[in-house]
Amino acid sequence: MNAIATNLPREELLAMYERMLLIRLVEEQLARDCAAGKLPGPVHLYVGEEAIAVGVCRHLDDRDWITSTHRGHGHFLAKGGDPARMLAEIYGRASGICGGFGGSMHVADFSKGIIGANGVVGGGIALAAGAALAAQLDGDGRVAVAFFGDGAANQGVLAEALNVAALWKLPLVLVCENNGFSEFSPTATVTSGRIVERARPFGVPGIEVDGNDVLAVWQAAHVAVRRARAGEGPTLIEALTYRTRGHVEYEVTFLSEPYRDEAEVEAWKHKDPIPRLASYLFEHELAHPEELHAIEERVAQIVAEAVRFAENAPEPDPAGARGHMFANPR
């Protein structure tokens, strides 16, 4: 029997609230850092899409695998990655989670099952399928989840992965985050049909879900992850959401004209998943405003400490710039 999100204990709901907020506050910090010219490279923020990473990763533990995208901070934090070491990485510091060798688009922590963000659109899909194969051979009920965008859904590798994962019944969950844009192209201008329907010809279940409703995402992922753990094969989830910030921070500095309507952005800001969960909690008398306020203070504290850690972290030693290319160097 599948559990039902609306029956979840309130601790579970508060934990999801806290994790979404952590992602939000870390990224608001990054937006300020970027505006202040403090970040060495491009950053793609996940603001407004947090419910997807959190609703899915709530079902996973450190031994499960995820692959992520160029917009990967949320997945990293939702899967239990350390915000301080992530920020240090994005600042290009030695104590960054990848020692300053990866940056925003490559945050990864294998000890937490985070195979990492990926600079290649669609690049994580095959990696997750491979991790799912390893999990299947290990036979211990682990699963692999690939997060990817609507733009990535147009890469052929999605069809390849659906085919093989269905044939081999791989414990794979494919989570498409449809945020309305493939870079600056509205999804509909580059995408035919509905992405969720792409599962059907392969005999794979497809679930479309409101990606701004963390309970709905939780519910869909619950079904998909259980199915994967039970050895029944892959599921495709299409989570409908919206990217309320730019594709990349500072895009206004190079775009000559707007590619979307401000009113549309404003309308979606009203569907923000974080206040939405707060309203749900109040409506069902599952939390008092003071409780959420206490969570907000705690998270703000964690983020402030993470920023302090990252800002004070030393820069990498250029003498080591050749890094760890090989495990068995000659």
């Binding site: 060798f101 590798v157 093989v164």
Partner: protein, 327 residues
Amino acid sequence: MARKRMIQAMNEALHEEMERDPSIVLFGEDVKASLFGDTKGLWKRFGPERVRDTPICETLIAGMAVGAAAAGRRVICHMMFGNFVYTGMDAIANQAAKLRFMTNGQIKLPITFIAVSGGGRSAAAQHSDAIHPVLANLGGIKVVMPSSPADAKGLLKAAIRDDDPVFFLQAAGRGGEPGEVPADEYLVPLGEACVRRPGRDVTVVAIGSMVRPALKCAEALEGEGIEVEVIDPRTIVPLDLDTILGSVRKTGRLVVVDEARDTCSFASHIAALAAEHAFDALRAPIRRVTVPDCAIPFAPVLERAVLPSVERIEEAIRRTLKHGGRS
């Protein structure tokens, strides 16, 4: 010792390593039927969990190799022909070659990719590329290019046990010539060149399938009292530069034979390294014998005309000997 073909030696290596290490999974297109024979019998012996036929989707299978390795498996991924590596190139160039580096060495990626590389069998332009220069330039991929059945076995076993992504390139143009293969277990370490034939007058570095014509040429010149030292790098990443430079310092002359197109061939790289590190020892301009910058043609006479031959190697050797007097 027994005489075996390279394909048989590879097949033995795969059987032995899969027996030895149950974490190994092998997959690729038609590995059960085995187009070349190297994976023959593995499916029967190790079963459908560990030996898997994939659909024709190189992007996915190369990427799955990376994901499975990142998740703790030792992987053998058969890419069939070298040219199909291009189809899987994102996973190889962007993922396999970089994931360890980008994550500051958090993981190892023990993957052996197997592919047939190079021409010589009228397979035409889309099945005949020598892909090693492309792979060597990626940085994070080791590249193994055996020239004999014995080396193929020892190198393949070493490649499988290595903790990094390795491309094992079996030369199409080598032909099925058998060679002695030791009966006892052995490994040939990556990064150790082999002096196939000692000589004082000129160093010929021959890569992979080029070792055989280089040796033929050396034998032919012996009658004239010309001593050719033939060096087989065996792996180009890592490259045993010391052995090459040691020989060049001894002979003062260098010819590099490579089945790659001339522009950015691996011969060009070896020539550059020798010029940089052993310039003082050189008594003649370095010569490269490569494929002209064209695709590989189909008809046997056309194909023979572009691939390095014994005659072209001989010509290059003679030209280097015109310079600087004999030692």
